[in-house]
């Protein structure tokens, strides 16, 4: 028979970090991403990106957002050049704005929801332990990959091999080859560590209990209504006309 769960019996297991259930936040995030991807006109993308940025400001996640943007700006630039060459400046601006809104929404989700909590919540909903870890691990180990890339870059610069600006294109093998080797090594180590800790069984216990409460349903309902409202084109029609 399972032991009774009390606050004392569960210490020191972690308590839930945010006010809302991670699954509710995930639904809102997915609706937001769907809206950003489905919105084509540049003028309609501006308020969406603005809303995501407002969330960053209100939640005081500016440092995390800036860290990600500093890492991604070359991608933004490359994206703008490619789309701009193919479809002109307006298309480039739209593409960059869409990417900015998506990245900002993602930062907002993961700054407020630890990946493990999200994985745990999905596990509690019946997702298989392997799939839950796949999702959680993808989110959690992305920063580790960024650290690996930084280490490789520093190692090459220490040998005089520059990897900034134009040099990145010319010397890309110096970054890519060791990075790939390091990532493969990382994956090997991770696989071993998982096996050693008994990962892969059919049952895995979530470390906390997840229950969808009224406020979670409320958040999802508001997000769904807002999506339908925005999708109808009514607010923008009122504003721009």
């Amino acid at each position: 028979m399972a032991a009774p769960e009390t606050e004392e019996s569960l210490a020191p297991l972690p308590a839930r970090a945010g006010r809302f259930d991670p699954r509710a936040k995930l639904v809102v995030y997915l609706l937001g991403c769907g809206l950003i991807l489905a919105t084509l006109p540049l003028l309609e993308l501006i308020p969406l990106a603005g809303a995501a940025l407002l969330g960053i400001v209100l939640g005081r996640h500016g440092t995390a957002w800036w860290r990600v943007m500093r890492l991604l700006w070359p991608t933004f630039l490359l994206f703008a050049i490619v789309v701009g060459l193919a479809g002109g400046p307006e298309a480039a601006a739209g593409a960059v704005l869409r990417l900015l809104a998506l990245v900002t929404a993602s930062v907002l989700l993961f700054a407020t929801t630890p990946p493990e909590e999200l994985g745990d919540a999905l596990l509690a909903s019946g997702l298989s332990p392997r799939l839950a870890f796949l999702l959680e691990g993808t989110l959690r180990f992305t920063p580790a990959m960024a650290d690996l890339a930084r280490e490789v870059r520093e190692a090459q610069e220490s040998r005089g091999i520059r990897l900034d600006g134009f040099y990145l294109l010319r010397n890309s093998p110096a970054l890519v080859t060791p990075l790939l080797a390091s990532v493969m090594r990382f994956a090997d180590d991770l696989a071993e560590a998982l096996e050693i800790r008994g990962f892969g069984g059919p049952h895995r216990t979530p470390l906390m209990e997840y229950r969808f409460r009224t406020r979670d349903w409320g958040l999802v309902a508001i997000a769904a209504l807002a999506t339908v409202f925005w999708g109808s084109g009514l607010p923008l029609g009122l504003f721009w006309n």
């Binding site: 972690p14 280490e151 190692a155 890519v176 060791p178 180590d189 050693i196 800790r197 008994g198």
Partner: protein, 499 residues
């Protein structure tokens, strides 16, 4: 008679696509409650045997296993590692690679949660293990923010929370300083007293030999010796690539010439990272032709100091000078002409399609490629047979030699090495010290950050001891060791205090 926990008869193993078997005809039995030291040179098969015991081999790595192997009543070849993990815990060499969660408490709970235990039981195991290993104060911390010793205790706790009967540790002392090693030794004593069967594969025999009840020596995949550590270590062990503990290496010969001009100077360097003062006015000078061992506990700031030397980190206060010129904001790639840095993980530096191309890459980028010099380095570092091989396919020891040669190929005046002997056996350490001595004789100023004072003693005549963010002592090692009746037993903090 004690119950045999491990029964191994005629066990052989060959990795996939490997020509020769890595393990050959091993025969031994290990009783429950034993403490076994598994010794042997690099490549002798220690790690392979560790992975066989919990089924990582062949389930994850494949290959051909023959003979009989029974561990805790199960055949690891037929039992998946996740089921073997209930009886067999395995601690791998790099503790940072074994932390699976974003907080220590989640990491400790990972194994029991995977066993499907209920939450109160998981909580109890986490609580008890954390108390037992004295890491309760770390439960809310992120594992990657911990020191190496702390990470290792966390990784060990994560395994012990699954309550294994057999604990296998693969080179657990490789990345630990003397204080961390002392704590681990104490833990091993307590585990043994608690009835856990222990197998410790280790190069640093002095850390374990006095505690183990039995010693197995692997040599080229075969069981070369099986007996008590005292009996085996009193015999000729050098042929197996081992070094008897307690024997101090001879000090290096006095240099034939005085050190030359200062090449690299750290002058009152301060560095604060993540709210912690790592360096607090550290000052050190490295002169041409001199080898300085930079010693200190894990987390003392050795790597941080080295990274200031080649501009990867910039001084918040203080100054770094190279050949008398302030580093300031000079780009790292420009400083590489004068200062070479070999990082702890050399594989991160290697990218070319062959060792030959790797040696040429740095000098070409700096427009100072000299094929004759590269050829000399290749010969000196024993790389001639490897010149056409891709560096990423070489062993860890070979990669390290390539990385050092690749940095020296640009003819830097100063060479910085970060923990170059971690996980290396006696032979590799001796070969590396000989190579560095040759480089110093040619006028290169060498600074080596290491937590291996025995290796440092064998070839460095100057020790700089980093403690509490500054160079607490800059002395001849003999002067430090002379203060101790039994220098090999001197713990690291004692040296720092004495200095």
């Amino acid at each position: 008679m004690s119950e045999a926990l491990i029964d191994c008869q005629g066990l052989s193993y060959r990795y996939p696509a490997a020509g020769a078997p890595t393990l050959r005809e091993l025969d031994f039995r290990i009783d429950a409650g034993a403490f076994v030291l598994l010794a042997g040179a690099s490549g002798s098969g220690k790690s392979t045997l560790c992975r066989l015991l919990n089924g990582l081999i062949p389930h994850l790595h494949g290959g051909e296993v023959s003979g009989v192997l029974t561990v805790a009543g199960a055949d690891p070849r037929l039992t998946p590692p996740r089921r073997m993990s209930r009886a067999v815990g395995l601690l791998l060499q790099r503790p940072d690679a074994q932390c699976l969660a974003t907080t220590v408490v989640r990491d400790l709970a990972f194994g029991p949660a995977g066993q499907g235990l209920d939450r109160p039981t998981i909580a109890r195991r986490v609580r008890e293990t954390a108390d037992w290993l004295d890491i309760a104060h770390l439960l809310d911390r992120a594992p990657h923010t911990l020191s190496c010793g702390e990470q290792q205790r966390v990784a060990l706790a994560g395994i012990l929370a699954m309550e294994p009967r057999l604990l296998v540790l693969d080179e657990p002392f490789a990345f630990l300083d003397a204080a961390g090693a002392g704590r681990l030794r104490e833990l091993l004593r307590r585990l043994r007293a608690a009835g856990v069967t222990l197998i410790v594969a280790e190069h640093r025999l002095r850390e374990v030999a006095d505690m183990a009840s039995r010693m197995l020596v692997l040599h080229q995949g075969r069981l070369a010796a099986d007996g008590s550590p005292r009996q085996i270590l009193s015999g000729p062990v050098a042929a197996w690539g081992l070094e008897a503990p307690g024997i101090m290496p001879p000090p290096p010969p006095a240099p034939s010439a005085l050190p030359g001009e200062p090449v690299l100077e750290w002058d009152g360097v301060w560095c604060e990272r993540a709210g912690r003062s790592v360096l607090r006015g550290a000052s050190l000078t490295s002169a041409a032709g001199e080898i300085v061992a930079l010693l200190g506990a894990n987390g003392a700031g050795k790597t941080t100091l080295l990274r200031h030397g080649n501009g990867l980190l910039r001084c918040q206060r203080g100054v770094v000078r190279v050949l008398g010129r302030t580093v300031g904001r000079r780009p790292v790639a420009e400083l590489a002409r004068e200062v070479g840095l070999v990082m702890q993980q050399p594989a991160r530096m290697l990218f070319a399609s062959s060792v030959r191309a790797e040696l040429a890459a740095g000098p070409r980028a700096l427009n100072r490629h000299d094929p004759a010099w590269c050829a000399r380095l290749s010969e000196r570092f024993g790389l001639d047979p490897l010149l056409d091989r891709p560096p990423q396919t070489l062993s860890a020891g070979e990669q390290r030699r390539v990385a050092i040669a690749a940095v020296l190929a640009s003819r830097p005046r100063a060479l910085l090495l970060d923990e170059p002997t971690a996980g290396q056996d006696t032979g590799a350490r001796a070969a590396l010290s000989a190579l560095l001595a040759e480089c110093a004789a040619e006028g290169v100023a060498i600074t080596v950050a290491t937590h291996d004072p025995f290796w440092a003693y064998s070839f460095c005549r100057r020790w700089a001891i980093l403690a509490e963010g500054r160079i607490a002592a800059d002395v001849d090692p003999a002067a430090v060791l002379a203060r101790y009746e039994h220098p090999h037993q001197a713990g690291w903090p004692a040296w720092a205090v004495a200095a």
